[in-house]
């Protein structure tokens, strides 16, 4: 049984007891523990259930690569699923619970899947649920969905705070082992600005666990001295608990800092003295990135290699040395390399029993195996594990010949197995942005190819790999490489490296590894089915072999078919094992099969860190008109319009939204209404060539517009399709003011600039987007003139200010420019005043208009009134496939102009096809029946493909209180030629609405109301 031993534990503070809750049990650990080491110390070997078969799973690893020990951490608004016990530092009051287990970890109903595992091979879902078709949607998918998913999503809003950090450095060094430290020192001494990050709380990496000596002293002393030296350097920044998450183009990197995950007060409540956010996402631009990310140990593939108690040999050593925790009293070692002997020796030195070391190699006579034999450990070469005995924990192992098929020679009782299949350099960050790998057959590993690095903007490689991550497994090699790389990175970022002495570094020499991809060599299919490659996704040797048998040759396809490496650990442990099995099945070399793509982030990072400050009001800041606050406090019912908020209507005395809209329409048509039109885009176009330029931008002629007059204009893309519309006013000979739609101001301004800068750069025209410089207020209705006359200041009579004219002057002492334009068909003035005077002018209108029945109105009233008049709306009548001619707007498309944007495209055969759907009005036969927006018209025929033939669709649809009738606009095939015809609009609930085709101008076609 796993337990705490009396001695050891570099990280422990045994004077400090830490209380925590695991699966409802109160347990105790020590200061410095991780959740994983504390669970191990408490004999809690079983930490989770696997995803597919719900197999009992224990800790396998001690670090970020752990696939099994995923827990739900915290409660309520602090709850987070899928947290790794191995990377969670223990604190007082920590609450954690297991995942994927119901009703409990020890007895799990889902484990029935395990019994059925014969029936769940690779591609099971693809193969099984394909027939009958209907069953997928109604039967299989709902059940699978319920069973799927890892952990539970939090139900409460996250109360923690997160932020971004931006940094520019010469050299970013990822990894705080001896390689990272040595590189940082070399680069720092050369004068480069350095950011050194280490994902755990501790520096020194494996060297301090594995008994490496530096300058004839334990590595720990060199680590402390080097850290102290680095902290003295003003050009070096050091962060622990900070992980290099991703490497991107041109030296960009994301770095994930967990600031206070390990602090208890932050979990229980927000202590006011703790002002730091929980996580920080650093967005770093580095001249050079050095990845000193070490290596991850590979499991061995033997039957039962997932039973709790089977652990990586390096992890066994980590728990022992760092946390004084043992995985068991009798630990069998299985290996294909010398490094695992370190674990055996450490276990025996700690007073634990190692009954046997099973070394798959035929000889083991290096320094470490010799030492192991000297201290009395039984070493069996050429031997393997035939199977691990036990169910929820290891009870023994069967021994067999590695060369054989698994016939058991002997059974040995034990309560744990330490396995080592060799080490894989952590090449993820090197590979994220395209760094390539070579297969090193001598060391059985993929290592970075320095000749094929990811390239920066200047064409030079911007990532270097140092130390073990670069393929050096001996400490002396690591040290030499790391210093060389640190100096190189500094040199390449414009610094002069100093000549320094490489510290003499010593670790016990190791004999070569022998690649062992399955154990024993000729394992039967029965054993393959109990031999796990991907622990989290339950992918077994048999699954990969089956995929190969079924014709999968690409490693990327096999990955997706079997889900190998697709779990949250991204196959850190056993991707190499998996692709080696695939290569073997395909009779191919490992490098020919290659690896799957490494993608960021290296480890999952919190959603909070990704969001940073962009939450709530900061998620997407909204644009506000000068009258925003007044509208908000006077019944405005907001709707989003582009980046703005506009009032849909103004609710009075508890009335419904629908009632408010009706009231606003009737009041505006009968008395006078007030509209905030400030969101309309306003772009000044100025210069000697302004008229010529606008003639290109608009379909109609703008250069002939007289000063003081307005003209409605259309803009099209070069494809001929409508893109925007608005009223253009000519301010003086060389100056135009172009109104755009509310959503179009930035886009249209950019559109104009694009043409001026990239096509007609010799034309003398300047543009300025003045949208937010003006408040624009529409005074609309039969009493509009009376309101303005009462305010006074300028002559707004029909003679002085006729329809489609504007004038500069003053109204009520405020500088104003009223435009006589109308989007409602009523007598209407749109008055532009300086933005800072907008609210004052609005108040003036409300006060002066009181006696004339003035009421503010919103966007829905505006929409209904424009539809009553048959005015189009960009985005309703247009959808990127509609040309002006479709909308009966040929009058606004100049035939005199040589050219304009979209002219040529509008002459294409399909654009002049008389069968194009064209705009008409539609009146429901049943007056109260409003046709659903977007409904299609059919003619009763059926197309070849069995679909009902459609002859048109609704683009706008409302109930008009003015006409007391449902009205709609739509595009209909031959529509304008079919006035008076009744056509059918089927609805989604099976009814058919009948409507009569009519002129889209429902109200006052002569314009007598507006032109007064």
């Amino acid at each position: 049984m796993s337990t705490r031993i009396q001695t050891g534990g570099r990280h422990l503070d045994r004077s400090k007891q830490v209380h925590f809750n695991w699966a409802g049990k109160q347990l105790t650990g020590y200061g410095g523990d991780t959740l994983a080491s504390a669970l191990l110390a408490n004999g809690e070997l079983l930490v989770g259930r696997s995803f597919k078969y719900h197999r009992a799973r224990g800790l396998i690893a001690s670090g970020a690569e752990e696939p099994n020990a995923l827990v739900g951490l915290g409660t309520g608004a602090k709850f987070e699923p899928n947290q790794r016990a191995t990377t969670t530092e223990l604190f007082d009051g920590l609450v954690a619970k297991p995942q994927n287990a119901w009703p409990s970890l020890a007895f799990d109903v889902g484990a029935i899947n395990k019994m059925m595992s014969r029936f769940f091979p690779a591609g099971f879902y693809y193969k099984t649920f394909i027939h009958p078709r209907f069953a997928w949607k109604h039967l299989f998918e709902p059940i699978i969905r319920k069973a799927a998913g890892l952990g539970a999503a939090p139900t409460e809003k996250d109360v923690d705070r997160y932020e971004y950090f931006y940094a520019h450095v010469d050299v970013l060094i990822i990894g705080g082992g001896i390689a990272g430290l040595a590189s940082a020192l070399a680069a720092g001494q050369a004068g480069a600005s350095v950011l050194l990050v280490e994902q755990t709380a501790h520096f020194g990496g494996r060297a301090v666990v594995d008994g490496v000596d530096i300058d004839d002293e334990p590595a720990e002393i060199w680590v402390e001295e080097t850290l102290a030296a680095l902290r003295e350097m003003p050009n070096v920044t050091i962060r622990n608990r900070t992980m290099g998450a991703g490497v991107y183009d041109h030296g960009y990197a994301t770095v994930y800092e967990r600031i206070n995950d390990h602090l208890p007060e932050m979990i229980t409540d927000h202590a006011p003295n703790m002002d730091a956010p929980r996580h920080r996402l650093w967005r770093v631009r580095a001249g050079r990135i050095v990845t000193a990310t070490g290596a991850i140990e590979r499991p061995l593939s033997f039957a039962g290699n997932d039973i709790p108690g089977v652990m990586l040999a390096g992890a066994v050593r980590d728990y022992l040395v760092n946390y004084g925790a043992s995985v068991g009293d009798r630990v069998v070692i299985a290996t294909n390399n010398d490094d695992a002997y370190r674990s055996a020796i450490a276990l025996v030195e700690a007073g634990l029993d190692v009954p046997v070391i099973l070394d798959a190699r035929t000889t083991a006579d290096g320094e470490l195996p010799t030492l192991a034999r000297e201290i009395g450990i039984r070493v069996e070469t050429g031997k393997a594990i035939s199977s691990v005995k036990g169910n929820k924990h290891v009870t023994g192992v069967g021994i067999c010949s590695q060369a054989g098929e698994g016939a058991e020679l002997e059974e040995i009782k034990c309560d744990a197995v330490a396995m080592s299949g060799g080490w894989s350099p952590v090449v993820h960050l090197w590979s994220h942005c395209g760094g390539k790998l070579n297969w090193d057959a001598d060391q059985s590993m993929f290592r970075p190819d320095p000749n094929r690095p990811p390239l920066g903007y200047d064409g030079a490689g911007f990532v270097h790999v140092a130390g073990t991550a670069n393929g050096y497994l001996d400490a002396a090699g690591v040290m030499e490489d790391a210093i060389k790389i640190g100096k190189l990175a500094a040199k390449e970022t414009g610094h002069k490296p100093k000549a320094t002495k490489v510290p003499s570094t010593f670790s016990a020499p190791e004999n070569p590894i022998e690649p062992i991809w399955q154990m024993p060599q000729g394992m039967s299919r029965k054993l393959q089915m109990k031999t796990f490659l991907d622990y989290q996704n339950d992918v077994k040797v048999s699954d990969v072999r089956l995929a190969a048998q079924e014709g999968y040759q690409s490693v990327e396809h096999t990955k997706r078919y079997t889900t190998l490496g697709m779990a949250t650990d991204q196959g850190k442990l056993s991707n190499i094992n998996g692709l080696a099995i695939l290569a073997d099945s395909l009779n191919a070399e490992i490098p020919a099969v290659g690896t799957t793509t490494f993608r960021p982030p290296y480890q999952p990072i919190s959603m909070g860190a990704i969001a940073g400050d962009a939450r709530g009001e900061l998620f997407k800041p909204i644009r506000q008109s000068p009258m925003h606050h007044w509208i908000d406090t006077n019944g405005g019912f907001w709707e989003p319009v582009a980046d703005w908020r506009r009032p849909y209507c103004f609710q009075q005395n508890g009335e419904s939204v629908g009632d408010a809209v009706t009231r606003e329409i009737l009041n505006t048509r009968q008395n006078v209404g007030l509209l905030d039109a400030s969101t309309l885009g306003k772009i000044i176009v100025k210069g000697p060539d302004a008229g010529k330029f606008l003639d290109m931008m608009y379909t109609n002629m703008m250069s002939t517009l007289k000063v003081g007059r307005c003209r409605y204009g259309l803009m099209c893309t070069e494809n001929g399709f409508l893109s925007d519309d608005g009223v253009v006013a000519r301010i003086d000979d060389e100056t135009f003011l172009c109104h755009t739609t509310s959503g179009g101001s930035d886009r249209i301004h950019a559109w104009m600039e694009e043409w001026l800068q990239t096509e007609w750069w010799d034309w003398n025209v300047y543009t300025a987007n003045v949208t937010e410089q003006y408040a624009q207020i529409a005074v609309v209705g039969p009493n509009a003139r009376k309101v303005l006359e009462k305010i006074g200041g300028m002559d707004v009579s029909a003679d002085a200010l006729p329809f489609m004219a504007f004038k500069d002057g003053e109204l009520g002492g405020i500088k104003a420019r009223p435009y006589r334009i109308s989007f409602s068909g009523e007598l209407s003035y749109e008055i532009a005043v300086p933005a800072s005077q907008g609210q004052a002018f609005w108040d003036m209108c409300m006060e002066a208009g009181a006696e004339f029945g003035i009421q503010p109105y919103g966007t829905e009233c505006l929409h209904v009134m424009r539809a009553e008049k048959g005015f189009i709306m960009i985005g309703d009548e247009t959808d990127g496939t509609v040309i002006p001619q479709d909308l009966g707007l040929s009058w606004a498309v100049s035939k005199k102009k040589d050219d304009f944007l979209g002219k040529r495209a509008q002459q294409r055969s399909h654009m002049v096809d008389p069968k194009r759907w064209r705009l008409v009005g539609l009146k429901s036969v049943e007056p109260n029946e409003v046709i659903p927006d977007g409904a299609y018209a059919i003619d009763g025929t059926v197309r070849d493909n069995g679909v009902k033939h459609m002859i048109g669709r609704i683009t706008s649809s409302y109930f008009s209180p003015t006409l007391n009738h449902a009205i709609a606009m739509g595009l209909v095939e031959n529509g304008p030629e079919r006035m008076g015809d009744i056509i059918d609009f089927p609805t989604t609930d099976g009814r058919v609405i009948k409507a009569e085709i009519c002129d889209p101008v429902f109200l006052d076609p002569e314009g007598t109301r507006q032109n007064v």
């Binding site: 183009d249 041109h250 395209g434 903007y457 950019a750 304009f900 944007l901 040529r904 495209a905």
Partner: protein
């Protein structure tokens, strides 16, 4: 995230400051154009694996359009230059040719 230096304001700008807009040096075919020319102008674009000339705008900076010569494979940036030109500067073309001897050269 790419870095491109804006030739107008001289800033080495992050990609998030910029707006990309596809192939550069496209000839506009407007009124009177043949169907083939129109098709070429509106729809046909190069998709090279290698040297490419692109339109960019320093949209969250000076607002100016510029062109960039870039390798679509390695992301190496050979240079940037103002948009007010019909073809890339000769010295830039020579520079690219030197770095990529196999490159066919600028083809409009």
């Amino acid at each position: 995230m790419l870095i491109l230096t804006c030739p107008n304001c001289g800033i080495a700008a992050d990609e998030t400051e910029l707006h990309a807009d596809g192939q550069a040096h496209i000839t506009r075919h407007g009124a009177g154009a043949s169907d083939d020319d129109l098709e070429e102008y509106l729809f046909m674009r190069n998709n090279p694996k290698g040297v490419h000339f692109e339109r960019w705008r320093h949209v969250y900076g000076c607002g100016k359009w510029f062109h960039a010569a870039r390798c679509t494979m390695t992301l190496e940036v050979f240079g940037t230059y103002p948009a007010q030109t019909l073809e890339p500067p000769k010295d830039l073309v020579a520079k690219i040719k030197k770095k990529r001897p196999d490159w066919e050269g600028f083809v409009k």
